[in-house]
C-alpha cells in the first residue's frame, strides 16, 4: 500500500469484522453523503524517495547561499555539530509536551536547564519553557504587563526592530491596547520622552542592542517607570546578553527576545525561539510552560511542569495567554549550544562578533564613502549612511555572492558581522564599496 501505512488487505478485513462495518466507508456513515469528497485530491503525483530527494535538492539549489552581512533579527553564527546531532535524537524529536512526566524526564530536565541558562543570561528569577520567537515573546510580555497593571496603554521605543513593533501592534489592536511610540534621540530611546508619556501606561518596551545596533544605556529607566506604576520590558537578542548589562541589573520586570543567535541555523526565519523571563512576583501572569523540581514517591529528584493554574488548559477563557505548543526543540538546541560554548566560550564568540563589526565599521569609514550615523557604542550591528547611490548596491553585492547590508531608508544601511565573517570576506566588501559611485 504505502510505506507509512502498514495494513495488508487481510489485516483490514479482519479489523473491519471486529468493528462490525462491512467496508471502510461504512465507518464514515456519520458524515452526510453530500459532504463526502467525490473526487481525488488535485495534488501532485506521489514521488519515490529518490525522486523526492532530487526534487528537493533542485528546490534547495534555487536558493542562493551567500556571504551574509545582514542581521536585523536573524544572525549567521556558527553552530557546533553536536547541536544538530543531539537534537535529532528521536527521544527529543518525536515526543510531545511532557504530559506524563515519568516518561518525559528528558524533556523536563532540559527545559529546567534551559530556564536556568535564560535566568543566568538575563539576570531574572524565572523563565518559561520558550515562546515562538522574539516578537511574539515581546507581545506576550505586553499581555503580562496588561494583566499586572490593568492599564491599556503601552509605550514602545522607536528603536525597537520595526518587525517586532508590527507584531506588538497586531496583538495590541485586537485586545484594545493602545501603542504609543516613544521617539528616539541619537539612535537611543529618549528618557525625557518616556517620562513625559509614562503616566497611566502599563510600561515601556525597549530593545538593547536596539534595531540600529546601538547598546542602550537604560540606567534610570526602571525607577521612572516603576514610579508611574508600570513595568519595564527589555528585549535583547541572546548573544548580546553575554556582554551587556542584564535586564535584571537594570531592574527590568520582564526580559524577552529571540535566541536564534545561540545555535540555530538561519533557516529562512524559522524555526527560532523566543524567551520570556520575569521576576518571581509576576510568575503567575507568565504564559507558557514552566518546569520545576520535585521528588517522586521514592524521594528521587525529578522534574515536572508546575504552576499550571496559569495556563489555557486550566483557565480556558480566563487565561492571560493561549500558548500551548512552544518551540521546545529549539530550546534544547540553545541549551546544548550554551553548554558547548560554556561560560568562557560564549563571551569569546560574542567578542569575536563585536570586534569584527568594529573592524568593518572603521574600514568602511576609511573608504570615505560613508558617514557615521550614531555615535553610541554598538555590538555586532551598525548603521552607516552611504554617500553613493545605494539603489544598485544590493545587486553589486549579490554579483559577488554577498548579502549586503539592509537598506533602512534615507541611504542608511544596517550592517551585521558575526564571528563567521573572515577578514577576506570583510575586505571583499570594502573593495566593492570602493568601486561604488
Amino acid at each position: 500500500m504505502h510505506k507509512y501505512l502498514p495494513h495488508t488487505r487481510e489485516d483490514i478485513e479482519e479489523m473491519l469484522k471486529i468493528t462490525g462495518a462491512k467496508t471502510l466507508d461504512d465507518l464514515f456513515s456519520s458524515i452526510p453523503k453530500n459532504l463526502k469528497m467525490n473526487k481525488p485530491y488535485a495534488i501532485p503525483n506521489q514521488l519515490s524517495d529518490d525522486e523526492l530527494t532530487r526534487h528537493m535538492q533542485g528546490l534547495a539549489n534555487q536558493n542562493r547561499e551567500l556571504i551574509i552581512f545582514r542581521g536585523a533579527g536573524a544572525y549567521d553564527h556558527y553552530t557546533p555539530s553536536v547541536v544538530k546531532s543531539l537534537i535529532s535524537r528521536q527521544e527529543f524529536l518525536t515526543s510531545y509536551t511532557p504530559y506524563q512526566p515519568e516518561v518525559a524526564q528528558g524533556t523536563l530536565q532540559y527545559i529546567f536547564e534551559y530556564q536556568s541558562m535564560v535566568c543566568e543570561l538575563t539576570g531574572m528569577d524565572v523563565s518559561n519553557a520558550s515562546m515562538y520567537d522574539g516578537s511574539t515573546a515581546t507581545a506576550e510580555a505586553m499581555f503580562m504587563a496588561y494583566a499586572q497593571t490593568g492599564k491599556s496603554n503601552i509605550l514602545v521605543s522607536e528603536t525597537v526592530n520595526p518587525r517586532t513593533i508590527d507584531v506588538i501592534k497586531t496583538y495590541a489592536h485586537y485586545r484594545n491596547i493602545k501603542v504609543t511610540i516613544v521617539p528616539m534621540k541619537d539612535g537611543m530611546t529618549d528618557l525625557t520622552s518616556v517620562s513625559k508619556n509614562v503616566e497611566d501606561t502599563m510600561g515601556l518596551i525597549v530593545q538593547s542592542p536596539n534595531y540600529f545596533g546601538v547598546i542602550e544605556d537604560l540606567d534610570g529607566f526602571a525607577d521612572i517607570i516603576h514610579q508611574a506604576g508600570g513595568l519595564l520590558i527589555i528585549n535583547s537578542e541572546g548573544q548580546a546578553l553575554s556582554l551587556i548589562k542584564t535586564p535584571g541589573e537594570y531592574g527590568a520586570d520582564i526580559a524577552c527576545g529571540d535566541l536564534q543567535s545561540l545555535g540555530l541555523p538561519l533557516s529562512f526565519g524559522g524555526a527560532y525561539l523566543g524567551y520570556l523571563a520575569t521576576k518571581m512576583t509576576y510568575v503567575r501572569k507568565m504564559p507558557g510552560r514552566i518546569c520545576g523540581v520535585t521528588t517522586d514517591v521514592d524521594g528521587k529528584r525529578a522534574f515536572v511542569l508546575t504552576l499550571q493554574a496559569r495556563e489555557q488548559h486550566i483557565r480556558r477563557a480566563k487565561a492571560n495567554s493561549n500558548i500551548c505548543s512552544n518551540q521546545s526543540l529549539m530550546a534544547l538546541a540553545v541549551t546544548i549550544y550554551l553548554s558547548t560554548m560554556g561560560k568562557e566560550g560564549l563571551v569569546k564568540v560574542a567578542n569575536e562578533s563585536m570586534k569584527g563589526a568594529h573592524y568593518l565599521y572603521h574600514r568602511l569609514l576609511e573608504t570615505k564613502k560613508f558617514e557615521s550615523v550614531y555615535p553610541q557604542p554598538f555590538f555586532k550591528e551598525f548603521v552607516l549612511k552611504a554617500k553613493f547611490d545605494v539603489a544598485a548596491f544590493e545587486d553589486q553585492c549579490l554579483d559577488q555572492g554577498i548579502l549586503g547590508p539592509l537598506l533602512i531608508g534615507d541611504n542608511q544601511l544596517l550592517f551585521a558581522v558575526t564571528e563567521k565573517r573572515t577578514l577576506e570576506e570583510m575586505e571583499q566588501l570594502v573593495e566593492l564599496v570602493v568601486s561604488c559611485k
Binding site: N63, D76, G106, G342, K343
Partner: protein, 481 residues
C-alpha cells in the same frame, strides 16, 4: 538502564571547554564599563564529550514515537519520516537569511506557494497563509480575521465567540486574547453541538463559532450543515479548529461544510515532529471573502516568479519573519511522498485503527458514545469501577508496559476521560499488543488494585509530588544551590 540524575551544571569544572574558536588578528574591542554586565553568565564549563554523553543520557529518559505506541488523543502522534528531516536540513534551506532578496529565494518561495495550494485543496478553503507558529497561534490568527472582517463591515457589536464545552482549552483562551467574550455552550451527551443551545446563544452580537470536527470525542458533527446555516444567518463566521483533520483525509473537506476559516496543525496531520512541545505550525486558511484579511506575508506566483505579497486588509504581522519554515518543508515532503494516490488512505486507516481498539475493548471499558468513531474515541474509565481504580492509574500502569498513555481527563465532558488516538501508522500487531495489555490492566484492577494505584513501577521515576513543586517553586539551577 541506570537512573541518570545529573544536571549539566553539576558536571561543570572551571577551565574546561567544549568549543573550538580561533581569534581573528584584529584589534580587540570592549564595551564601556557602565554598559557591561557585572559578572559572566554562570554557564556550565564542560568538554564536548561531556555534552554529548549528558544529552544522550538525558534523551534516554524520554519516550518517543520510535520507542513505541503513543496513543495521545488529539495530538496525532504519527511516525515522523526520516527523509523529511534530511531534506529539510539541506544547506540550500538551512543557510538562507530571511531578508534575502526574493530572486535568491525562489526555491523556498515555490515550496511556500505549493504548500499553500495543497492545504487549500485538502481543506477546501480558498487561500492560506503559513505564518502562524502553532495551532493556538493559528486560532489567534483566525479570530483576528473574524474581528477584522466585522470591523471592516462596521459591525462593531459582534464581540462574542461561541465555543462548545468539549473544545480544547486553547479555543476560549485564544478568543479572550483576541479581545472577544466567550459563550460556552453545553454539548449533547456525545460532545456534538446542541442545536437548541446554539440557537439561544446566537444573536446580533455573535462574531463566530469555533468548532473542532470531528470533535474531541472523535464524533463527526452530523448537523454541521444546519450549524453552518444558523451561524451564517445570524451574521457570524464559522471557524474550524484543524486539530482533528487527520480523520477527514480522503473523506471530506471543512470548506465544503461551510467553514469560513481553518487552521491546520502541520505537526499533527502532516507529520512534522512534535519536538517535545514544538516547533509546531498552524497555517490559517480562509474562504474567498476573507482572503484580503490573511496575515502577512503570503506567497503568490507572478508569471514564472514567486513573490511575497501583502493582503489588502491584512490583520498584520504575527512573527518576525515567515513562520516555522523548517516545518513547512517537512510537511511539503510528507504530502509529496503520498501524492494524490495515497493521501486519501490516511483518514480511513486512522479511523479503522481507532474503531478496532474501541470495539476490542468496549466490553471492559465504559464507552459513553456508542457507534463508529472517527480517528479517536473516549473511554470513561473502567466498566467495573468497584476497585476504585481511576483513569490516572490506568494511564500510569500503561507506562510500565512500555506504552505511552492516552490523553487523560480530557475532554472535560466525562469525568474519567481517556482519549485514544492510534493514528494510521500502527500495525494490527501493535494494536493487538495494546489491547492485550489493556485487558491485562483490567484484570489487575480487579485482582491487585494497589498495583495500579501506585503505578508506574518500572519507569525511571515514579509518581511525582506535583503539589510540592508548586508550593516551593524551584525553577532554575541557582534555586537548588
Amino acid at each position: 538502564m541506570k537512573y541518570y540524575n545529573k544536571l549539566i551544571f553539576e558536571m561543570s569544572k572551571s577551565g574546561r571547554i567544549g568549543y573550538n574558536l580561533q581569534s581573528k588578528d584584529i584589534p580587540e574591542v570592549s564595551l564601556p564599563k557602565h554598559l557591561q554586565r557585572e559578572t559572566k553568565a554562570n554557564l556550565p564549563e564542560v568538554s564536548e564529550l561531556d555534552v554529548v554523553r549528558h544529552y544522550t543520557n538525558v534523551s534516554q529518559k524520554n519516550f518517543g514515537v520510535e520507542n513505541g505506541f503513543y496513543p495521545l488523543g488529539s495530538c496525532t502522534m504519527k511516525y515522523n519520516p526520516k527523509i523529511n528531516d534530511e531534506l529539510a536540513s539541506l544547506s540550500g534551506f538551512a543557510n538562507i537569511h530571511p531578508l534575502q532578496p526574493q530572486e535568491t529565494l525562489q526555491g523556498l518561495l515555490k515550496i511556500y506557494y505549493e504548500l499553500q495550494l495543497m492545504l487549500s485543496e485538502i481543506s477546501g478553503l480558498k487561500a492560506y497563509s503559513l505564518n502562524p507558529f502553532a495551532g493556538a497561534h493559528g486560532e489567534l490568527a483566525g479570530l483576528m480575521i473574524i474581528k477584522a472582517y466585522h470591523e471592516k463591515n462596521k459591525d462593531f457589536k459582534r464581540n462574542k465567540i461561541i465555543i462548545p464545552d468539549s473544545a480544547h482549552g486553547t479555543n476560549p483562551a485564544s478568543a479572550s486574547v483576541c479581545g472577544f467574550e466567550t459563550i460556552e455552550i453545553k454539548s449533547n451527551p456525545d460532545g456534538t453541538i446542541n442545536l437548541e443551545a446554539l440557537r439561544s446563544a446566537l444573536s446580533d452580537e455573535t462574531a463566530g463559532l469555533m468548532l473542532t470536527n470531528p470533535n474531541t470525542a472523535g464524533v463527526f458533527e452530523k448537523d454541521i450543515t444546519e450549524i453552518s446555516t444558523l451561524v451564517h444567518q445570524a451574521g457570524g463566521l464559522l471557524y474550524y479548529d484543524g486539530a482533528n483533520l487527520n480523520a477527514l483525509l480522503g473523506k471530506a473537506k471543512p470548506g465544503d461544510m461551510g467553514f469560513d476559516i481553518t487552521h491546520i496543525n502541520l505537526h499533527k496531520t502532516f507529520s512534522t515532529p512534535h519536538g517535545g512541545g514544538g516547533p509546531g505550525s498552524g497555517p490559517v486558511g480562509v474562504c474567498e471573502k476573507l482572503v484580503d484579511f490573511l496575515p502577512n506575508p503570503i506567497v503568490l506566483k507572478e508569471g514564472q516568479r514567486y513573490v511575497f505579497s501583502e493582503a489588502k486588509n491584512s490583520i498584520g504581522a504575527l512573527g518576525l519573519f515567515f513562520g516555522n519554515a523548517s516545518v513547512y518543508i517537512r510537511a511539503y515532503v510528507y504530502i509529496m511522498s503520498f501524492g494524490h494516490e495515497h493521501l486519501s488512505d490516511i483518514g480511513p486507516m486512522a479511523v479503522l485503527n481507532a474503531n478496532y481498539i474501541k470495539d476490542s475493548l468496549k466490553d471492559v471499558f465504559e464507552l459513553p458514545i456508542d457507534g463508529h468513531c472517527l480517528h479517536e474515541f473516549v473511554f470513561d474509565g473502567l466498566k467495573d469501577q468497584s476497585s476504585g481504580v481511576k483513569t490516572l492509574d490506568i494511564a500510569k500502569r500503561l507506562l510500565d508496559y512500555g506504552f505511552h498513555a492516552p490523553t487523560i481527563y480530557f475532554p472535560l465532558i466525562f469525568s474519567q476521560s481517556m482519549m485514544i488516538e492510534p493514528t494510521e501508522v500502527e500495525s494490527k500487531e501493535t494494536l493487538d499488543e495494546f489491547i492485550h495489555v489493556m485487558r491485562q490492566i483490567v484484570k489487575e484492577a480487579k485482582e491487585t488494585p494497589e498495583l495500579l494505584k501506585t503505578a508506574p513501577h518500572n519507569t525511571i521515576v515514579r509518581r511525582l509530588d506535583e503539589a510540592k513543586a508548586a508550593r516551593h517553586p524551584i525553577v532554575k539551577f541557582k534555586d537548588i544551590v
